[in-house]
Structure formats: structure tokens, C-alpha cells
């Protein structure tokens, strides 16, 4: 490739991706990774006192999502390249209506300051408007983070965490 071709690609790429960011999934064919984000519903049914969980995609099943619904946030990834990907750092800025579950909070590095700093939830504190501090809770989490050291060529995987609709 010449330098001129490169510039041409850049220009076209910016235009198309800018549009994708606000509408359709960003699945450019030549992305090194295929990333598919889903929000699934952990549908809890109680029949004769027996509780069953069913993970459904509400966009397919039309199950209702309301305050208190349990959501499983999933990222499926696939390495499209013929070479390994290293230092894969995943961050999910939690949408404001979602509250991370306690269990998931223990499995990830989390941020309670909008992604500026990360750590284990038990080590984090939050400061209120009056300057008082308290131990951070799962409900304070604004971003979750996970690092995967290496993804082999052609490998796929899934990252998921649980949250509740506030």
C-alpha cells in the first residue's frame, strides 16, 4: 500500500464508522476482533414454589424488562486474525439504569468514578457531596474491567456479568 491509498481508506473509514457508532452494530469486516454485545434477561419463573431461571434474549422473546429485572450483559469476542491478540482489556461502562450484582462485582476490577481508577470493589471508597467517605458497594460501580492476557488466532470467548435494572 502506498501512503495515498492509506489516506483514502482513513477518510472513508471515519465517515462510515461515525455513522455506525450511533446506529448499527460496528461489525466492520476487517476488524481484528468480532465483538457482539448482548443484554439478556434472566427470566425467573416460580411454579409451585420451584424457581427456575431461563436466560432469554428480550429482543427475540419479547419478555418484559422492568425495574428489578436481572440482566446478563454478554460480550462475545472472536479473534479474526491469523496472529494472537495480547493484553486484551475489556471495559464496559455500565448504563446508568443497570446495577452490578454483588457476585459479578467480586469477579471484575471495577471503577466507581466513571472509569478513572479501577480496583477490587472491597478496596474502593466513595465520597459523598459533604466529603464523607464510605466503602463502595456494587451499586456504585460505573465501569467493569477485565484483562485477558492472550487470545489465540481464531479463538472465541465470552465475558458476562450480571446486573439488575434499577
Amino acid at each position: 500500500m502506498t501512503m495515498i491509498n492509506f489516506k483514502g481508506m482513513l477518510k472513508i473509514g471515519v465517515v462510515s464508522l461515525a455513522a455506525l457508532c450511533v446506529s448499527a452494530p460496528a461489525l466492520a469486516a476487517n476488524d481484528p476482533l468480532t465483538l457482539v454485545s448482548k443484554q439478556l434477561l434472566d427470566k425467573v419463573t416460580t411454579v409451585d414454589g420451584k424457581v427456575t431461571h431461563q436466560i432469554v434474549d428480550p429482543s427475540v422473546t419479547h419478555d418484559k424488562v422492568v425495574p428489578g429485572s436481572h440482566i446478563v450483559v454478554v460480550l462475545e469476542y472472536h479473534n479474526n486474525l491469523a496472529q494472537p491478540i495480547s493484553n486484551f482489556e475489556y471495559k464496559d461502562p455500565l448504563p446508568a439504569p443497570l446495577m452490578l450484582s454483588d457476585d459479578s462485582a467480586g469477579e471484575f476490577d471495577v471503577s466507581v468514578d466513571g472509569g478513572k481508577t479501577f480496583g477490587k470493589l472491597s478496596n474502593l471508597v466513595v465520597t459523598d457531596a459533604k466529603g464523607a467517605t464510605r466503602a463502595a458497594e456494587a451499586g456504585d460501580v460505573t465501569t467493569v474491567k477485565l484483562v485477558i492476557p492472550q487470545i489465540a488466532p481464531g479463538a472465541s470467548g465470552k465475558i458476562e456479568f450480571h446486573a439488575t435494572v434499577r
Binding site: 471515519v14 418484559k64 422492568v66 425495574p67 428489578g68 460480550l75 464496559d92 448504563p95 434499577r166
Partner: protein, 327 residues
């Protein structure tokens, strides 16, 4: 590779700005109906020596409406009812996550009531001061819908009830206010497709879309007992009822109960075959003129009328006397 990095960098910057614009509203009753939960992940990784940032698709889930309502009594002590009606105040809270209006129904018939009140007025506290202001607060037809109430917002509702004449002092009666969602009610989980705010689906929540509360009124009434007696003096100094005998009638008004007998009036007709002796009317031993004037008594051709006014239960007995002569 260089071009790719640039492209993705621009994409992320734009998306982050969008995320910030969402803000962090307070979710007092839960996420509002119609809210779109938009999630996407950002990954950063190395390919060889290059660092690349890539973003996933944005997955969108819409929050549907949960219908909920709670009614609480704002007055827990019994409210006296008697000569004046009682005003009962209830609070209706939209516990759902979408704006909703509620049908408001007052019901004076409740099992176990010693008497049944008459529902005079159903009103919504327009100015929010918790006190019924006639001509200011919004009077509605019983069973009609409230205005639209925002999620987590409350209104105060007044039920004004009157006691029947049959109620005796100290008896109690409950009055129920029921608020039922205009969007829908029924078994929790019942779906009202497209009936929610902005056309979202609405689901009946745990309240069943309806709530009610009871408040109690206690009859505070006065009971008046009239006791009439007669003393006869005949022209010969004896006590025989003969022509020319003078009969002194005495009427004692005894008022009991916790209430007040309003505008109490004692009237008595002269017996046939007798003639009223002018100027003999007394109230508690004080003479009253026969004319209809400033004093409490009036004697007509047929009988006497004495206005006792508002007499509180337990106050001193009132005694009216007058004399007639047997023709």
C-alpha cells in the same frame, strides 16, 4: 494498521460523549418506563507492537412500565362526625415507574360498620396543603380518575362523609378509599400491550394495580331527652282537674353525649279545653315574654316555642314552664 488505529480512536471519542450525555438521574421508583438501556463494551488490545481500541455494537433494551399504586391513611385517629360532616384524608402514591392516573372511589359501606355514612364529596388536594379548601380543591365524581401522577409522586384525596341520624354517640364506622390504575389492573404480571407511557407495554405490578385504605369516623352526637310533668292547683286549693284549675307544665330538656344538639327547640301545644295563661312562660326560672322578640320564648294561640340553641351534651338541664287554665 495506522489508519485502523485512527478510525477507531475517533469512533470511541464520539461514543464516550454520548455516554456522558445520559447523565445519572435519581431512580427513586426504579428506572422510568420507556428508558432505553444502551450497552456497549470497549476493548483495547495489542497486535504485535500496535495498540488498538475497538468498540462493540450498542445493544439496546427498552424498559417497560410497571403499574403500581399505594393508598395510605393520613389520619389514624377516629374523626368525629355528627352535626358536622367528617373530612378524611388519604394519600395516593404512584409506585409504578411510569406516569399514571388512578380512579378514586370512596366507599362508606365496610363490613362491621355500626352505621353507614353518606359520602358527600370526593376531592383532590389541589394546593397540596393537606386541608380541604372548598372552592379551591378539585371535587371529582366518585370513581372518576385523578390527574396524571408522576412516578413516585403523591396526591392527597379527601372524602367528606356525614353521619345518619340513626348513629348513636360513640359508634364507629370505617370509610374506604380505593385507587385503581387507569392504565390497567388485575393479577400481577397481566400485560397491557402498548398502554404504558409513550406506548410502551405496561405490566401489572405486585399491587395488582389497585390499593385501598380505611379511615374511621366516630359518631359524636348529642341525645336529648324531654321529660314533661304537670302540677294542678284547683280553685279550692286542692289538686283536682276541674274547670278553673291551673295546670303548670314543666318540660326538662336533658342533653347527653359527646356532641352538641344544634338549634335545640322545645315546642308544646296547649291541650284542648285549656287556655294559656299569658306571661307564665319561664326558662330556667326566668320569665319569658309571649311576644316573638329578642328572648327565647314565643307563645302563640296554639302553643309555646322556646329556642335553646346549641346545647352541648352533658351541660345543665334546661327547664321550660308555662301555665294553662282548664276551661
Amino acid at each position: 494498521m495506522l489508519a485502523m488505529r485512527g478510525i477507531h480512536h475517533i469512533c470511541i471519542a464520539g461514543a464516550m460523549a454520548t455516554g456522558l450525555a445520559l447523565g445519572h438521574p435519581a431512580w427513586a421508583t426504579g428506572t422510568l418506563a420507556g428508558t432505553l438501556i444502551q450497552n456497549s463494551a470497549i476493548v483495547t488490545f495489542n497486535i504485535g507492537a500496535g495498540t488498538i481500541t475497538q468498540r462493540s455494537n450498542t445493544n439496546v433494551v427498552k424498559v417497560d412500565q410497571v403499574i403500581g399504586v399505594a393508598v395510605t391513611p393520613l389520619v389514624t385517629a377516629s374523626v368525629p362526625v355528627g352535626a358536622s360532616p367528617a373530612t378524611l384524608t388519604y394519600q395516593v402514591t404512584n409506585t409504578g415507574n411510569g406516569a399514571d392516573s388512578f380512579d378514586l372511589t370512596g366507599a362508606p359501606s365496610v363490613a362491621g360498620n355500626a352505621f353507614t355514612t353518606t359520602l358527600q364529596t370526593v376531592a383532590i388536594d389541589s394546593n397540596g396543603n393537606g386541608i380541604y379548601d372548598a372552592g379551591v380543591d378539585t371535587v371529582i365524581t366518585n370513581g372518576a380518575a385523578s390527574q396524571v401522577i408522576a412516578p413516585d409522586a403523591t396526591i392527597k384525596v379527601f372524602l367528606i362523609v356525614a353521619a345518619p341520624a340513626s348513629a348513636t354517640d360513640g359508634q364507629t364506622s370505617q370509610v374506604r378509599l380505593t385507587a385503581t390504575s387507569a392504565t390497567g389492573s388485575g393479577t400481577p404480571g397481566t400485560l397491557f400491550a402498548g398502554k404504558g407511557v409513550g406506548g410502551v407495554d405496561a405490566l401489572v405490578g405486585l399491587s395488582g394495580g389497585t390499593g385501598n385504605a380505611l379511615e374511621t369516623v366516630q359518631a359524636s352526637v348529642a341525645q336529648v331527652a324531654l321529660t314533661k310533668s304537670a302540677t294542678i292547683v284547683d280553685p279550692y286549693g286542692g289538686g283536682t282537674a276541674v274547670s278553673g284549675s291551673v295546670v303548670t307544665y314543666s318540660i326538662v330538656a336533658h342533653t347527653s353525649g359527646s356532641g352538641t344538639a344544634a338549634g335545640l327547640t322545645v315546642t308544646d301545644a296547649f291541650p284542648t279545653g285549656t287556655t294559656y295563661q299569658p306571661g307564665t312562660m319561664t326558662l330556667n326560672g326566668t320569665g319569658l315574654t309571649d311576644a316573638a322578640d329578642a328572648d327565647a320564648g314565643t307563645a302563640s294561640a296554639t302553643g309555646i316555642t322556646v329556642l335553646l340553641g346549641n346545647v352541648a351534651g352533658g351541660s345543665a338541664d334546661k327547664t321550660v314552664t308555662f301555665q294553662v287554665k282548664i276551661n
